[in-house]
């Protein structure tokens, strides 16, 4: 496309894409680090499948799907934790149970309605370039809420992620921190759907975190590296998408993967 960078970033839809993408990207990358280290990285994938069902319900009942998805995905995330505790099954199994029910529910509703398959498809792959001003505000507000929660509970999250048993011995209620982590993840998954789509949400959580694990020399630095990788991927991905006429969400994910590959090769060469 033959336009200058300045002209490119002067478009309001591009500005909204950058702002929403960066906020959501930073959020996913920070929570992703905690999830990856707790071997819960697939919870993003599982909750995105639940979002599919919740969005289908929203479309079915004629309610704005994101508003509908937020409480449903939060309740599902709590259900995953409770199922793991009470039914004595592993976390990944609980995620599998909840995600398959969410996906099946969405397929059933889409089949019954016959009318909103096209809208549902737009949520499957997302479109950051079509994000509205109200969605941008929602991204900023919820991102700030989650980031403030992570800031104030940094040591609790760090301790529980490092070793749950030892965290309990320092008086931290690890069950409450686990619950909080999955609720924050649920909010973030729903926020990310408009940016990257249901199919690719989990990559936003996993890829910046695993890149940070290749490069970091400490936990705090891993958080900053993870966030930096996410910002870089969003900026490069949106630019690539605009200039090369590619889907934005997928471009961001591929940039993320390239950064992971480079970090991996760099670490191997050390």
């Amino acid at each position: 496309m033959n336009i200058s960078f300045l002209e490119f970033i002067s478009y309001s839809f591009i500005q909204r894409a950058f702002i929403s993408g960066i906020f959501v990207g930073v959020l996913c990358s920070i929570l992703g680090l905690f999830l990856v280290l707790r071997k819960l990285s697939m919870i993003g994938d599982g909750l995105s499948h639940v979002s599919f069902g919740a969005i289908a319900m929203g479309l079915f009942f004629g309610v704005y799907p994101i508003y509908f998805a937020i409480p449903i995905v939060i309740l599902s995330s709590i259900f995953i934790v409770k199922l793991t505790e009470k039914a004595k099954i592993y976390g990944d199994t609980a995620i599998g149970v909840v995600s398959s029910v969410g996906l099946a529910g969405g397929v059933l509703l889409a089949s019954i309605s016959h009318g909103f398959n096209v809208s549902l498809l737009s949520y499957l792959f997302g479109n950051i370039l079509a994000i509205s001003i109200s969605e941008t505000y929602l991204s900023i507000a919820l991102s700030l809420f989650v980031l403030v929660a992570v800031y104030f509970l940094y040591y609790e999250l760090f301790a529980v992620t490092f070793n749950e048993e030892q965290a309990n011995v320092t008086g931290i209620k690890s069950d409450k921190i686990n619950l909080l982590l999955v609720i924050l993840t649920a909010i973030t998954v729903v926020l990310s759907i408009r940016v990257v789509g249901i199919m690719l949400v989990s990559s936003f959580f996993i890829l910046p975190a695993v890149t940070a694990l290749q490069l970091s020399k400490g936990f705090k630095s891993a958080i900053f590296v993870s966030a930096f990788v996410a910002i870089l991927s969003v900026i490069a991905g949106i630019c690539a998408s605009f200039y090369l006429n590619l889907p934005a969400g997928a471009s961001i994910v591929i940039v993320n993967f390239i950064l992971f590959l480079l970090s991996f090769l760099w670490r191997k060469s050390m």
């Binding site: 280290l37 011995v169 320092t170 008086g171 020399k217 400490g218 936990f219």
Partner: protein
């Protein structure tokens, strides 16, 4: 003398498998207790119950004179778990970050590490001769170095009660000797109460002044001198084993 830990009629089982049966004992301030017993005798389970990590089926536990359910002063307790359960090997934490986690039990929300805390961490690292490892990733260290980092984490709060689960398993001889000298110093000079779990009963006598020997129930609890003079224990362990433990003492 003040009771630091008091356990009465404690029972615990995993499903149908009985692990602890009617365990009763109390540990006084300044005691250095060797907690011995064969693998599966319930040593680690007992410690986890004292730390509130596992709920017993029945019985009463009090720590620092408070019922365990109401106990909140976790900074008074330092805990060094078995090395196998210490951390996720890909976790990117520095030695400093790990040891500073030991300080958060003293903090109230929102928990923050201050400049003064950084100095406290440095002192703990220096005491264990690992200050030069401060900025290294914990995963890059040897087993013995990692063990010392976790001991620094357990000690950084200057706890009144220190609980160590098989601490010397991964240490070489020199480090092990230094490690036990440090525990002796903490016990004798600072009055730290110590519970040391080990399956190596032969070495308990070298360090502890009391022995708690478990086999689901308490087989023996008392001073080493009482153990050595006990005909009942000679009958239980055999003359040679008893002699070996007492000789070390």
């Amino acid at each position: 003398m003040e009771n630091i830990v008091e356990v009465k009629n404690l029972n615990f089982s995993y499903g149908l498998a009985e692990v602890l049966k009617d365990v009763t004992f109390s540990i006084e301030r300044g005691d250095y207790v060797g907690l011995g017993g064969y693998n599966g005798s319930g040593k680690t389970t007992l410690v986890k119950i004292i730390l509130g990590l596992i709920s017993p089926n029945s019985g009463m536990i009090s720590v620092f004179g408070k019922n365990l359910k109401k106990f909140k002063q976790w900074s008074k307790i330092g805990y060094l778990p078995q090395s196998v359960s210490l951390f996720n090997p890909i976790f990117p934490a520095t030695v400093y970050e790990v040891v500073s986690l030991g300080l958060i039990s003293k903090k109230k929300f929102p928990r923050r590490i201050t400049k003064a805390d950084e100095k406290t961490v440095d002192i703990a690292l220096e005491e264990l001769e690992i200050l030069d490892l401060k900025d290294k990733l914990i995963s890059d260290l040897s087993g013995g170095q990692q063990q010392r980092v976790f001991l620094a984490k357990a000690l950084v709060n200057e706890p009144e009660l220190l609980i160590l689960d098989e601490p010397s398993n991964t240490l070489d001889e020199k480090t092990r000797n230094n490690f036990f000298n440090l525990l002796n110093m903490l016990n004798k000079k600072k009055g730290t109460t110590i519970i040391l779990i080990t399956h190596d009963i032969g070495h308990i006598g070298e360090h502890a002044n009391k022995l708690l020997y478990l086999e689901k129930s308490v087989v023996f609890y008392g001073k080493l001198s009482e153990f050595c003079g006990s005909e009942k224990m000679e009958g239980f362990f055999g003359h040679e084993s008893q002699h070996l433990i007492c000789h070390q003492h």
